[in-house]
C-alpha cells in the first residue's frame, strides 16, 4: 500500500490532540475559574454555550467551523490546523467543565487567606487557586486530549482526509473502511485503542498519585 505509515498517522494524531489541548488550556482554565467562582448575569447562557459543542452532532460543529474559517479567510481548512480547530471546538466543553469542577473543589477559604496576606486577584489565582486545582485541571486536560485523539466528525469536515497531512487515526480508519481495506483499518484501530488506553491510564494514574 502506498499509504502513510502507521507511525506517521499516530504522530499526527498525537500532535493534533496535544496542540489542541495546549491551545485550549489557558482559555479553559480562566473560563472554568470564572464559572466556578463568579456569579454574573448570563452565566447560565455561557454555560449552555460552552456545553453546546458536546451535544451537537460533531459534523454540525465541523460545518460551523468550516463556514467560520472561510468567512474569516483563515487558511486552515484541509490542513492539520483544521484538525486542531475541530478538536479545539469539540474538546472545549470537556476541558472547561473539568476546570470548573477542579476550581469548585478548591475551598475558597484558601483564596480568601491569600487575599488577606496581600495577594491581589492575579497573584492569588496563580499562586493559590491554580496550584490547588492543578490535579483536576490536568485530569481534565488529559480527558480532553484523549477525546481529541478520537475526534472524527468535525475533523473530517474541516480538515478533509489527506493522507500524511490531515489523516489522523480516526480519519484513517474511516477512509480504509470506505475502501474496503478492513485489515489496514484494524491496524489503525489497534493503534488508537493503545493510545487511548495509555492516555486514560495516565489520567487515572495521575488522579491517584495526586490523591495520595
Amino acid at each position: 500500500m502506498s499509504e502513510t505509515p502507521l507511525l506517521a498517522i499516530t504522530a499526527l494524531t498525537l500532535r493534533v490532540a496535544a496542540v489542541a489541548t495546549l491551545l485550549l488550556l489557558p482559555v479553559a482554565v480562566l473560563l472554568g475559574f470564572a464559572l466556578a467562582r463568579r456569579s454574573f448575569r448570563g452565566k447560565a447562557l455561557v454555560q449552555a454555550l460552552v456545553a453546546l459543542p458536546m451535544v451537537l452532532p460533531p459534523v454540525a460543529v465541523g460545518l460551523a467551523i468550516l463556514l467560520a474559517v472561510s468567512a474569516l479567510d483563515w487558511p486552515i481548512a484541509f490542513t492539520w490546523w483544521g484538525a486542531v480547530a475541530a478538536a479545539v471546538a469539540v474538546c472545549f466543553p470537556l476541558l472547561v467543565r473539568g476546570c470548573e469542577q477542579a476550581f469548585a473543589e478548591v475551598d475558597p477559604r484558601y483564596e480568601q487567606v491569600a487575599r488577606s496576606l496581600g495577594l491581589g486577584p492575579a497573584r492569588s489565582f496563580l499562586r493559590v487557586s491554580l496550584p490547588l486545582a492543578r490535579r483536576g485541571v490536568l485530569y481534565g486536560a488529559l480527558l480532553a486530549f484523549t477525546r481529541a485523539l478520537g475526534e472524527f466528525g468535525a475533523t473530517a469536515i474541516v480538515a478533509g482526509i489527506i493522507p500524511g497531512r490531515t489523516e489522523t487515526l480516526a480519519l484513517g480508519i474511516y477512509s480504509r473502511v470506505q475502501l474496503g481495506d478492513y485489515r489496514a483499518a484494524l491496524a489503525l484501530c489497534i493503534a488508537s485503542f493503545a493510545l487511548a488506553l495509555v492516555a486514560m491510564l495516565a489520567a487515572e494514574g495521575w488522579l491517584r498519585r495526586g490523591r495520595a
Binding site: 475551598d107 477559604r109 484558601y110 480568601q112 487567606v113 491569600a114 487575599r115 488577606s116 496576606l117 496581600g118 495577594l119 491581589g120 486577584p121 497573584r123 492569588s124 499562586r127 493559590v128 496550584p131 490547588l132 492543578r134
Partner: protein, 356 residues
C-alpha cells in the same frame, strides 16, 4: 504601636440570620465572645472585607478601611489584616516555609517580619515540613506566623485555640500571649471560651444572635447581667493568676498576688507563673468550719452578693480573690446565703485547670 480607636458597624443578612453590630473600643486587644452561631465569624469576615454585600463601616485601630458614605472600600488584599481563620487554612500545596513566604507577598523586603514571627512562634525546626505532617498546635502556630509575616496592621484571630484539645491549648496559649505582648499589634480575637477571653482580652465584646449584648472588661462583662442568659452555652469560669510557691502532695502550691493559696495538680517550678481556671459549678460552699475533707483546698471567704439566674444562684465571693460559685436556689436557701455571710469555699485540686 499605640492603637487608635476602633469603630465597626456591620449589617449583613444571611438566610435566617441577621448580623447587626455597631461597636467601638479603644483598647488594643479585644475579644469577641459569644456562643457558637452568634455571628462572631461573620463579623470578623466583614471586618476583613470578605462580604461585599455587607453594609459595613470599618475603622480599625485608627485606620479607615471601609465607609460607604465616603466611598471608601479598601480591597481585601490591601487591608493589611493578619487573619487566622478557625480551620487555620494552611496552603496544602506548600511546605511550612512556602506558607510563610506567601505571607511575604505584601511585606516583601528583607523578611524581617517573617524572621521575627518564626522566632516568636518557635517554628525554626518546622520550616521544611509538609503542612500535612503538622500537629494541630503546630498548624495554629504556622497560621499565626503566616499572618504575622504579612506585616499586618492588626491581627484577626478566629477561635485560634478552639480546634485544640485542652493540653494542647495550654501549650499554644503562651505563644498567643507572646504575640500579644511582644509584637504590640491591635488584635481582635474570637473565642467562645471564657478562660481565653479573660486571659487574652483587654476588652470583651459579647455577641449573641447577631447583636452585641455587652462590652467591657472581660472579668466584669462575662459575669454581667446581660451575659448571664448565655452562661449555659459558655460555662462560667473563675480565672486566677498565681505563682507557684512549693511542691506539695504530688502537686504544687500556688499563691495569688493577694495571698490566696491553692493546691493544684501537676508539677510547677517554684516561682513559675500560672493562670488557673475553675468552673463556677465546681466550687462547693460550706457554712461553718467543714470537717475532714478529701478536697485539698478549703478557703475562708465572705459572700459579696447573690445573683439569681433561672434555677441557679451565682454567689460572688471574696476569698482574697474574687470568685464566683454556682449553686441551686434550694442550696442557697438552706445555707442561708446572703451578702456578708462567712462561708468556706471547697475546691478539689482536680477541678483546677491550668490555662497557661
Amino acid at each position: 504601636m499605640s492603637a487608635g480607636a476602633t469603630r465597626i458597624r456591620a449589617r449583613l443578612r444571611r438566610s435566617g440570620f441577621t448580623l447587626d453590630v455597631d461597636v467601638g473600643w479603644s483598647e488594643r486587644v479585644a475579644v469577641l465572645f459569644g456562643p457558637s452561631g452568634a455571628g462572631k465569624t461573620l463579623f470578623l469576615e466583614t471586618v476583613l472585607g470578605l462580604h461585599r454585600d455587607a453594609e459595613a463601616h470599618v475603622e480599625l485601630a485608627g485606620e479607615l478601611l471601609e465607609d460607604p458614605g465616603r466611598g471608601v472600600r479598601v480591597p481585601v488584599h490591601e487591608r493589611r489584616l493578619g487573619w487566622v481563620p478557625q480551620e487555620s487554612a494552611l496552603f496544602p500545596h506548600l511546605r511550612v516555609e512556602g506558607n510563610l513566604r506567601l505571607g511575604l507577598a505584601r511585606a516583601g523586603g528583607d523578611g524581617a517580619q517573617l524572621r521575627r514571627a518564626v522566632e516568636v512562634l518557635e517554628l525554626g525546626g518546622l520550616l521544611q515540613r509538609s503542612v500535612r505532617e503538622l500537629s494541630g498546635g503546630e498548624r495554629q502556630r504556622v497560621a499565626l506566623a503566616r499572618a504575622l509575616a504579612s506585616d499586618p496592621r492588626a491581627l484577626l484571630l478566629d477561635e485560634p485555640l478552639a480546634s485544640l484539645d485542652l493540653p494542647l491549648r495550654a501549650r499554644v496559649l503562651p505563644f498567643l500571649l507572646r504575640v500579644r505582648d511582644e509584637l504590640g499589634l491591635p488584635m481582635l480575637v474570637i473565642t467562645h471560651d471564657p478562660d481565653e477571653a479573660i486571659v487574652l482580652g483587654e476588652i470583651a465584646i459579647v455577641l449573641d444572635k447577631g447583636s452585641v449584648v455587652a462590652t467591657g472588661a472581660p472579668r466584669e462583662v462575662l459575669w454581667s447581667r446581660a451575659v448571664l442568659p448565655l452562661s449555659e452555652a459558655l460555662g462560667l469560669e473563675n480565672v486566677i493568676e498565681a505563682r507557684a510557691t512549693a511542691a506539695r502532695d504530688g502537686g504544687a502550691e500556688v499563691e495569688t498576688a493577694r495571698g490566696l493559696r491553692l493546691v493544684v495538680r501537676g508539677s510547677l517550678a517554684p516561682g513559675e507563673r500560672v493562670r488557673l481556671g475553675v468552673r463556677a459549678e465546681d466550687l462547693l460552699l460550706a457554712v461553718g468550719e467543714p470537717g475532714r475533707l478529701s478536697a485539698r483546698n478549703v478557703l475562708p471567704a465572705r459572700v459579696a452578693r447573690l445573683e439569681t439566674r433561672g434555677g441557679d444562684v451565682l454567689v460572688h465571693l471574696d476569698a482574697g480573690e474574687a470568685l464566683v460559685a454556682r449553686v441551686t436556689e434550694g442550696a442557697a436557701r438552706d445555707l442561708g446565703l446572703e451578702a456578708g455571710a462567712p462561708v468556706h469555699v471547697v475546691v478539689k485540686a482536680q477541678a483546677i485547670r491550668r490555662l497557661a
